[in-house]
Symmetry: C2
Subunit: 430 residues, 2 copies
């Protein structure tokens, strides 16, 4: 089929009637499908079932140093877990705190600590520095933006490019405005675009010269080993680059096994310079005696090392790849060449971006909803839930079965066409 | 032996020389014993080893409602865990949030949320209300005081009585001073005295009429079912009393299985009125997607119900009781009638208070340390680590073996006598 915009008005009206009929038929099926969140499927969770058997009453529940993981102590996490996560984070074990099940909670706590107590002994709490700003590459992760919105930051949209956030804009804002205190980054297979920052982007991050000494990069490497295709992306090690520049204190790193083992019962970790870590521990030691070290040991015993993580990700890949291919293939087949939508084709991660005609994203999501397919809300990937172009839709293909995904994709493609036809007809009428 | 104060000066000097000789002999043994923290012993942790086998790869990992505990979701905790903890907390399941492994973290978060966002939609954040005060029954739990010190509260000592905190003082301060925002309570088998609040004390708490609408009682029922003797204490249900008074919003309740299952890998829970819970969830939902529900299910499967918890506590009791009896018996035998020390004899919990002669607590702890026995630091049970009388020492008998405990108690008794002799001789010399 030709591009929508080349269709004459009369034909378009007739075509829309066809689409309406198709939509009515789909709606009559009474579907109930959910493509809204980046949740692993039950099949993926089953891949880690062995974790439930690798630490039993007959196993030694001690660290390699002989400490009982069941008791209090070891705020930073057990040594073998610190080492394991250091590998995943690309830092030294002494720079790692292994936490509970949620990296989001570690990020929230870092922001909360900076608000209340500041980022370093000689820095004022963010709470006492007036109205502050946070940079938000868009589209991005809604829960990141939720944290900075909750704490009252003015969030500034930074456009994503194929090589990462618009670094000209980042450098300008960070170097000129001391009220800019941080930036959210998902540097590999970004949520939702699936973009991996280029080496140059990483180097430019490490070389930032912030106007605020207490500026921090929140480097959420949630998808660090989450490849889908045979041509995986590689990400430069930002801590190494920061060390070269002497900017290690600018960096907070986060990772978790939420999408490696169990999304609700994995292990999260954060890393930062030893100076930053000492300051964080001053408050963390008031907050908690220790995180769940039994679950840390369970993960160490099950995955053993970085290769163990990677072998597990191969299994995830086998389940995720066909899902991405199905949805992307359907988009190509149904929407390719129509000029009414574009989408990313990531080599990894949990999402891709579907960008429909400006002003149509909300309508597409509403149409899908009405036909029984729940998508992530339009605008969710933008601060304050507001997509200025009303164009971006985050697609999360991992959770539904292939069968459900096929049906959901059909509804999605139909809705995209319908919304575009509505828009073009309205424009022609105006 | 007669009271120390009745010993003539010359005899006392000679007696002290005896004590010095005994102390030198003990010191020469090169002991290395730790009675500093309320940690369960390895034997106690072994009681819950079955928990490692009750949720394996062959078990259904779903809630009774059919939801997969391995995935994201259920911020409030799984329904069966909410019900289980509601029983422990004496509240409705709808008033419970089941958290991660740390009740301290839930408390810290409650304070942090109130600081940053206030306690209710119409209340100003505590951060914006100037210098604030927190009431601290003393002696009390050092980690409680650590939180309020970290957040910059002026902490006001409230003397403990055999029926709980001095309620005349509490009522006066709470009703007259709007800058008083909270009070720390360990209402059953208090840390460190082991005192249980009387029914009247609980009723007076529920009937408080705070000058500050955003005043909160932090009711940390850490030892709710932790009986030691055959004559356990009972605690009135404060939520029931608050409901009668219409003061439910004044109350935050906390509990955990840290001293029921594994101290580092148990499950914590908090409870509050549904109004308070809705407000807390507004921020909690920004902080974390869900706590570790696999561990919640593991606990539910292992303990089943309140009776399961209680049966487990009978087993703990069998291990803890002889330890308390040993130390208390030694104190009675070595220090009874000397007039140089008093101590509490709790029916449950993890601690008791040893009150030595005023001005002697630090010296006793230092003498023990020098002889290889680590006690909780003198003053630790007071805000800012400052015991005005320098008299209170928290005794934690659960962790060491009976053999170690015997040696440690000998050193302790000797140190108490030596410090008293030093003090009396110094007074006689002056």
């Amino acid at each position: 089929m030709a591009s929508f915009s080349s269709i004459p008005a009369r034909e378009l009206a007739a075509y829309k009637k066809e689409l309406d009929a198709q939509y009515a038929a789909v709606k009559a099926q009474g579907l109930k499908l959910d493509m809204s969140r980046g949740k692993p499927s039950a099949d993926q969770l089953d891949l880690s079932l062995g974790m439930m058997d690798c630490l039993t009453s007959s196993d030694l529940m001690k660290t390699s140093a002989g400490d009982d993981v069941r008791n209090y102590g070891m705020l930073e996490g057990i040594p073998e877990a610190r080492e394991l996560f250091a590998g995943l984070l690309g830092v030294r074990p002494s720079e790692v705190i292994v936490g509970g099940n949620s990296s989001l909670n570690l990020m929230y706590d870092c922001v909360a600590r900076a608000m209340q107590f500041g980022t370093a002994p000689n820095e004022a709490p963010w709470n006492r520095q007036g109205k502050l700003k946070f940079l938000c590459p868009v589209p991005g992760y809604d829960r990141h933006f939720g944290i900075t919105e909750t704490f009252g930051f003015e969030m500034i949209n930074i456009p994503m490019t194929p090589t990462g956030p618009d670094m000209d804009m980042v450098e300008k804002l960070v170097s000129s405005d001391p009220s800019v205190k941080g930036i959210w980054c998902v540097p590999k297979y970004s949520n939702p675009d699936g973009i991996t920052y280029s080496d140059e982007t990483v180097r430019r991050f490490a070389a930032l010269k912030p106007a605020a000494r207490d500026f921090r990069i929140f480097w959420d490497n949630a998808y660090c080993i989450h490849d889908i295709t045979d041509t995986p992306d590689t990400l430069l090690n930002i801590m190494d680059e920061c060390r070269k520049q002497g900017t290690e204190d600018m960096l907070y790193l986060f990772v978790s096994t939420s999408k490696i083992s169990f999304s609700g019962a994995g292990v999260a970790a954060m890393a930062m310079s030893e100076r930053n870590l000492a300051w964080a521990k001053k408050f963390l030691s008031m907050q908690i005696i220790s995180y769940d070290k039994v679950n840390q040991l369970r993960h160490v015993r099950f995955f053993k090392d970085l290769d163990g993580f990677k072998a597990q990700m191969e299994k995830h890949r086998a389940l995720i790849k066909p899902r991405f291919e199905l949805v992307l293939g359907m988009l190509e087949k149904e929407l390719g060449g129509l000029g009414i939508a574009e989408w990313t084709r990531p080599n990894g991660g949990y999402f891709f971006s579907l960008n429909v005609m400006p002003g149509c994203a909300k309508r597409v999501v509403a149409l899908c909803k009405e036909a029984g397919v729940t998508l992530t809300g339009a605008g969710a990937s933008f601060p304050y839930g507001y997509d200025p172009a009303d164009s971006n839709i985050r697609i999360a293909p991992t959770y539904p079965s292939l069968e459900d995904l096929k049906k959901a994709s059909e509804v999605l493609c139909l809705s995209v066409k319908l919304a575009a036809a509505e828009k073009l007809l309205a424009e022609q009428a105006a």
